[in-house]
């Protein structure tokens, strides 16, 4: 690894660790009743968020899902605003109106988490189309779970992206489950990457989603190609959902041996090991400490923040 590689890996580790720190607190505070509603965490899947968003610019776009905290943090959203949002506070990213499933900040290209499976894919295609029509070289990434691929909007999004040569990359996080369903039980026929290629995507590849270096190395050329006009591509990143579908799900349907195998492939542990072996132990420790401090502070500020006032109830319904 070159020094550049180390720097990049340290950066991606920082992102992963921040996400993990964020979501572990979310999980805990949800259990404690401090976070209302329901939340879905991406613990174990951080390499994808970090590796993909690390390759993006501020003016690039992403859309994500109900499991989107990681993608938002990696794309540059501040933990303070996000945590306050989850606490339902006025200082939250969306003023407390959105919540975990609807965090968005279009000003930095985050076009939204989404509570509707597959809804983000066409949105990303449209953003990519707009980028080109407006003469920029921005690209869009649509994050989605593997449960999404059976749905109509997935098919329509791929079809339109290819037709429009839209600079969009579909990143399918295959974390083994769609809610309580073993995703393999729903799958028939060719692998997703082959099917996707059949739509005319210029590239389609299945990768190890728990290795942030692999994710980065895969995505960077795809982003560059999309900027240069190569059109859409798809990546199926293999990973594993370490928590339940939502916090509180006891996961009775999980195969424990498989779970353990995946735990051993934890993306943060892997990056940490590589960096420690390369003599970056101190930097790694500092990343962890910084992230803990950052997120603890976010929690503290979030819990201290006021709830939105009644006057905001009817604000922002219309433009």
């Amino acid at each position: 690894m070159s020094t550049d590689d180390h720097e990049r890996l340290l950066g991606d580790l920082r992102t992963m660790v921040r996400i993990r720190a964020f979501e572990e607190r979310v999980s805990r505070h949800f259990r404690e009743g401090l976070i209302p509603g329901f939340v879905h965490v991406s613990i174990g899947q951080e390499a994808i968020a970090a590796g993909v968003c690390g390759a993006l610019r501020d003016d690039d776009y992403i859309t994500t899902t109900h499991r989107g905290h990681g993608h938002c943090l990696a794309k540059g959203l501040d933990a303070d605003g996000m945590m306050a949002e989850l606490f339902g506070r006025a200082t939250g990213t969306c003023g407390g109106k959105g919540g975990s499933m609807h965090i968005a900040d279009p000003s930095i290209g985050i076009l939204g988490a989404n509570g509707i499976v597959a809804a983000g894919l066409p949105i990303a295609v449209g953003a990519a189309l707009a980028a080109r029509r407006r003469g920029t070289d921005a690209v869009a990434v649509a994050f989605a779970g593997e449960g999404t691929v059976h749905s109509g909007p997935f098919h329509e999004a791929l079809t339109l992206a290819v037709l429009w040569e839209a600079p969009v990359i579909f990143v399918i996080e295959n974390n083994r489950f769609a809610e309580f369903t073993d995703s393999e039980a729903m799958w028939r026929g060719d692998p997703l990457v082959d099917r996707a290629r059949g739509y005319g995507l210029h590239h389609s590849e299945r990768i190890d989603g728990n290795d942030v270096e692999v994710v980065r190395a895969t995505i960077e050329p795809l982003v560059a190609a999309a900027r240069a006009g190569a059109g859409p591509a798809l990546v199926e990143a293999m990973t594993y959902r370490v928590h339940g579908h939502y916090e509180g799900d006891a996961v009775p349907y999980r195969d424990e041996a498989e779970f353990e195998r995946w735990r051993e492939r934890d993306p943060i542990a892997r990056a940490t090991a590589a960096l420690e072996a390369a003599g970056h132990g101190d930097a790694v420790a500092a990343i962890q400490a910084d992230a803990d401090a950052e997120i603890d502070a976010a929690v503290e500020r979030g819990l201290a923040a006021p709830y939105p006032t009644a006057e905001t109830l009817l604000e922002d319904v219309h433009a």
Binding site: R89, G96, A118
Partner: protein, 326 residues
């Protein structure tokens, strides 16, 4: 040790499906995670084991396809109970409901039979966010050809769901997730058919018409804040068919009425009820028929905002007192 307590609302759902599956081999259950997982709320737990994967069918996330298939299966002799996990998701599968199931019998001059239940649930007030909180029964009641049932009572959910499954036409069956753990009140139970509203508590001053979770919110408002007012609380139970007779009889007596629903008030189902009652009783009422529903905004996530957005006991009590001043 068997649970000796009366069954909860959610148990009523499960036992109704089980009873109809037992009685008729053509009844099948279909939807995302309804099978092995037992449903995201556990409503269908045990049915997969009991009736097998052939009759309790887990599907991929492809609701438009699944509901379309349910329409075809219904025309070909099954009686599917198809689940739409959250009512908000009708947005991804409206066509099979509105343009197929609802219209096929009519379009075929009676040639098609569509014995099909679209089971779904709603329930705001727990920070589920704008895309998991909508009560869209008004949209569906507006579509000729659909029936719309919305049980509020743990016993009624069983009765109405059985009736829905036995109906030879499409029924949208709207449960409320915040009622799933409710157990019935003590006292005798007299089953009613769909299309008959139930007078939940009699009263002479004001008629309040509600359904779903709003029935208990109104009851709470009465118990906690309106002890001095004779509220006649009517659980509408089914929006289509609409039991105008029972409503009219009550309002003719009380002279005042309020419709309370979780759905957005604007262009919502309460407007129909208010209009029908006003048409019939204009000269008998002592003030306008009023509605109380969600405010005209997407459902906010933050608990204090959401509490303001939805009707609760305070707002209901205030609205009832408002009626008395009209």
């Amino acid at each position: 040790m068997p649970d000796e307590r009366p069954p909860r609302y959610i148990d009523g759902v499960r036992s109704a499906i089980a009873a109809e599956m037992e009685a008729d081999p053509d009844v099948v259950l279909i939807g995302v995670d309804v099978g092995e997982g037992g449903g995201v709320f556990g409503a269908t737990r045990g049915l997969h084991e009991r009736f097998g994967a052939e009759r309790v069918i887990d599907t991929p996330i492809a609701e438009a396809g699944v509901l379309g298939a349910a329409v075809g299966a219904a025309m070909a002799g099954l009686r599917p109970v198809a689940e739409i996990m959250y009512m908000d998701f009708v947005s991804v599968c409206l066509d099979p409901i509105v343009n197929q199931a609802a219209k096929l019998r009519y379009m075929t001059g009676g040639g098609a039979r569509i014995p099909l239940v679209f089971r779904t649930q709603t329930g705001g007030g727990r920070s589920s966010g704008a895309q998991h909180s909508q009560s869209l029964e008004g949209m569906l009641a507006h579509v000729p050809g659909l029936k719309v049932f919305l049980p509020s009572d743990p016993r009624d959910v069983h009765d109405l769901l059985r009736a829905a499954i036995r109906d030879d036409g499409p029924v949208v069956f709207v449960e409320n997730r915040r009622l799933y753990n409710r157990r019935p009140a003590d006292g005798p139970w007299e089953p009613l058919p769909p299309g008959r509203a139930r007078v939940v508590r009699p009263g002479d001053d004001v008629t309040v018409i509600a359904w779903g979770r709003m029935v208990e919110e109104v009851a709470r408002a009465c118990d906690e804040q309106l002890t001095d007012v004779g509220v006649e609380l009517i659980d509408l139970r089914t929006l289509v068919p609409l039991d105008l007779e029972t409503l009219e009889r009550s309002v003719r007596r009380t002279g005042r009425a309020l419709v309370v629903h979780e759905a957005t008030a604007d262009f919502g189902p309460g407007a129909e009820i208010a209009t029908r009652l006003s048409e019939r009783l204009l000269y008998e009422i002592e003030g306008p028929i009023r509605r109380l529903g969600a405010v005209a905004a997407p459902t906010p996530y933050s608990p204090p905002l959401e509490a303001l957005a939805l009707p609760g006991p305070e707002a209901i009590a205030a609205a009832v007192r408002g009626l008395l001043e009209d």
